[in-house]
Symmetry: D2
């Protein structure tokens, strides 16, 4: 009997101590009505420019990190490892594509056009033949990218390496290109930095905003899942998970940037995203003039709410960590509460999103 019991215990303990499969973390980001939410990073590097990892590593890393979309965007003009590694902008995608398709990851072919300011650095993605962009005149590079149907966005526009005081300055060349519709987006966030002034620029020039890692080393060394320093993501609201739908969604600006626990984008997408992330339950109890209500954060976002109007119902401040709930006390007859989501920027106002939360009735009411 003792042996049998021992074995019953040993077997699961042993099995549980083994690690059998590579595993992917699920990032809890909800879909919104009419669209699925693709989690993308559209700016990464490999040893084919100045990154420190092999292209297949980026695919496994993105898959483990819970991403749906990954672009490999090695520098076109900057290849410091060329004494040892072949210079060929098409190779990273070629090497990685089979692995990506097995893992269900949408792998996007791209390059980083790497010039002095202006125009600085821009990513061109959805390319067919990146080596054709290896041209001297940057205007010709842009034309060739657009000929291939590229989506083009301005990278880390306030980067101190090219902007003396770390603030984005828009040059005439940018204005010209924006006017022609050559540039479709701009990075609000890059790595561990975000540029608040990009919100104003995006509104003025009708650009979409993105947040990407620009990772050269590894995301495991740079970011902490669940913390402020999570991997930055561009969230894309797509009709389905396919390359065609992804392209369409990006050109139609259905995107929100998520970096350092800040969500930035148009109210059109922030509102349904936050509504889908928060669930208000019917009151737990109603006693006298008050009721106690549970608010659930079903997302991986940290959501920090501050009351818009001091006189209104509800606590001044509600902070919801990822996958947590809070209980708030509110007056019995209040059926809706209004809060600013402090950790958001809307393109429309450069300020926080204003969110109304409806309180369901109890079954008895």
């Amino acid at each position: 009997m003792k042996i049998r019991k021992l074995l019953l215990i040993i077997i699961p303990v042993l099995l549980l101590s083994l690690q059998a499969n590579a595993q992917r973390q699920v990032i809890q980001i909800p879909d919104i009505p009419g669209y699925i939410t693709l989690k993308g990073d559209l700016h990464t590097h490999t040893v084919f420019s100045d990154g420190l990892v092999w292209p297949t590593f980026r695919v496994n890393e993105a898959w483990r990190d819970g991403l749906d979309v990954l672009a490999l965007t090695d520098h076109l003009e900057y290849t410091p490892f060329s004494a040892d590694v072949k210079v060929d902008a098409a190779r990273p995608y070629e090497i990685a594509k089979t692995l990506a398709s097995r893992h269900g990851l949408l792998l996007v072919q791209g390059v980083e056009i790497t010039r002095g300011m202006p125009p600085g650095h821009l990513n061109a993605i959805f390319l067919e033949d990146p080596e054709k962009l290896r041209l001297d005149d940057v205007t010709e590079v842009m034309k060739e990218a657009l000929r291939q149907g590229a989506y083009i966005f301005w990278n880390h526009p306030g980067w101190r390496g090219q902007q003396p005081d770390g603030i984005t300055r828009v040059y005439d060349l940018h204005r010209e290109w924006f006017g022609k519709g050559w540039v479709h987006g701009v990075e609000f966030g890059n790595g561990r930095t975000y540029y608040p002034e990009v919100i104003d620029i995006a509104r003025e020039h009708n650009l979409a905003i993105l947040a990407n890692s620009d990772v050269h080393g590894t995301t495991a060394d740079s970011y902490t899942p669940g913390a402020v320093s999570h991997r930055p993501l561009t969230l894309i609201f797509s009709k389905e998970k396919s390359m065609t739908a992804l392209r369409e969604a990006m050109f139609e600006q259905r995107m929100v940037a998520w970096i350092q626990n800040i969500l930035a984008g148009s109210e059109q997408w922030l509102t349904p995203l936050l509504q889908a992330s928060l669930e208000v339950e019917p009151p737990n109890t109603v006693v006298g003039e008050n009721k106690w209500v549970t608010i659930r954060n079903e997302s991986a976002f940290l959501i920090h709410l501050e009351k818009d109007d001091d006189e209104a119902a509800g606590p001044n401040s509600i902070r919801l960590e990822p996958l947590t709930t809070v209980v708030v006390q509110i007056p019995r007859d209040v059926n809706s509460i209004r809060y600013n989501v402090v950790n958001t920027f809307t393109i429309e106002t450069s300020g926080p999103l204003l969110l109304d939360l409806e309180i369901p009735k109890t079954l008895i009411d």
Copy 2:
């Protein structure tokens, strides 16, 4: 401009660094068709017997831990703090009930009948007046508990303090009470220990099995969320979240015990619970004779699958940590795979649950 930018950055950083609300962890345990899954701990102590915390602490702790159901079950006959704390079995529930109702926690009134072996220790819960059980003769105590409509279960039946070699021995008194239907359940798991032999006993005597913490200190000191050493739970499949539905579910044995990442219970409940926890996606890609398929674990359970038949399709072993996915390679024409869930015990066989996973077709197929 610099000041404005600084403020834009400072404000969210500052706000995010504050902790505004007590928060509850969401434990991702799915509902099953027809029932919601209540997460319960039906065995805990306070300073009113030999526990080290105040009754309201237990409520906040259970709420933060993500529970739906909590029973306070102080020892009826063992009150070592009686020099300083009033001896009254009704007080823990009275003190804690308002807080519980605000937080939407179903708080169950109970006591632990604390005798030498046999019968050892038993919990009587759903009591109306626990002080009426303060009687010398344990048979009278049982009768009074049953008169009040109590659900009664045998605690830590293999506890070394009362079973010399740590193996559950069933005494004649137990058999008599089992025969009369006086005892409704038995702890398969208690604290950090589980008793495999309890599965056989439950089958033979038609008892439900439970897993509870029996916490005296705090769960934060004893358990680690997401690890093997998670807080043990009794999962109860209830028609709704109410005291009436909870009672009905327990008396109808709609329960599964979860402890040390082991799930134990009837196939009737384990099968839908595991099916609801795992989602198989349509193939990511089909190449030649093979397809690559993603399996998602949408639950907080660790799920360890071992192939039932070496000749069958799929990898020998699939390990899914909580909220992760894996990709497996299987032959193109296979539409279902069969695995043992190694970290389960079914009451029907004392062995692992056998689970069939259907593989959806691609949209094109």
Copy 3:
């Protein structure tokens, strides 16, 4: 052979999966020349006032948290659990003292004198008979405490519950008591809050500063070891680990407060504490005009250095997490670097500590 190998593997795995003993975390805080550094929390509560845990729980908690000194300081005048728990200020210490002595914890008997403002709340510790302080007139309470040889400090002086705008206001009654030497210290830090303005008050009135938890629930629920939100501590530089030496050290103001990764106190103690925490190694390499030097943080403190003078040698900013090292590049002929420790406040200046770090020569030099 296979069996033997299996057993060789199983045995350690099994043993390693068991948890055999309660364990104490070692907090890496260095001693300083001439003194050992005692880690203390001098403000905690139990169910004997409005705390939520039994006195022995506080002892185990403090021991696990790595403390050397613990004071139990229940409210003298506020006992909301008196319907169930005996009102007796001497009981917490009596109940806990045996356990503390076994664990080598210096357990200090105290109470929190709990009055409206002024004087607000003060802790009197090292008491002999706390019940003798149960007097109406607060001046009489102070006199009795001093008669018993108490060390008295002002608690959370900027607490919003008693200071309308959350800023410490010193009342005439405080000035009178400070002048008479009745009050020996003041809390710079309490719980998760610190009061910068207390530095000025401490300097003006010659008070020592402390940081304590004032814990009512549990430290596991309130604090995270190794994070900004670590348990606050009063560090006491004592000739030895004994009650006599502890008292002497406190009355001689040999203390530093540590809260939210801020260290506050006199330069006399901050300087040797930081010097003992940081070790500069001989250069790793010297090439051309530069050398590369490793700086080790051997403490549990986060240490953030900012250069005092932009023209001087060394990087502008050096951040050392607990138990980490960094490598810095400095000119070959520089033998000392000077930094502000940004996360300190000195009583002398209310500003950060200025610290000189000597760079050892290589063996060859």
Copy 4:
């Protein structure tokens, strides 16, 4: 006043939220009398064979992981990335050496001789010109390596890829080479696997034992600091931190392997290493016939002690997590306790190390 206070708070919060430097984790492994303990990993790969990272990444990774010694040992005969990456066994070391010297890391040049079984895979390290080993006949390769003064060890000897049942089989060719002294060591541990049978082989053939990562991806993805799945290390007891002293130490077999919380090696080195890791303090208290004694684990090792003799003093089992202490009760007049360190293997016995711990007297005694 409010502004000043706000700024005092904002400044440290802001500064603390920035990450200024790459940081190295200190692994707390003690030196032993007469020697410093170097932490080494002597088996790693880069993109120059089938690894997934650039050589400088390995240096930064090793430095961050707290290592003192790193060997880059790309496969000599297996270079799957040769369509894109130059085939040159000298390049990884050349690329990484400057970075290593700045960080004070001893970087060792090596290759992995990669053949079928026998002889399987062997690492040759401390090479001067690795390309000279590119020869057909493996005997000639060995001779050339030895000519260059190489230290040679057998890699993952029980690897299923080359040993059908996962158990090390020693072939005649190995015996011949062992007899000639051509092979100096053997991996007891590789990656996440250890081979208990290697202990017997090492004893019989007078080989040193090592534990290395054989990392191809990244250690951050494969290992968890402080957990059972820590990065495996070869601990080398060296007269100083220099390449010369390191070589001498290795050829003199002053090594211990550390993998999966198992320490394996000669009693000659295990005994002082464990003695330096554990500190027994004078009794906390002596009451009646018993005393309570604190045992401190000052190392990063998990140390699991089981009593050798049931009748002897002390608890049956003592488990010490890294950097923790426990309190044990022992009879007053006992001055030494004897335990097996269960998670060790000694080369002398293939069993656990037997360790005597002296108990210091109290000052009064």
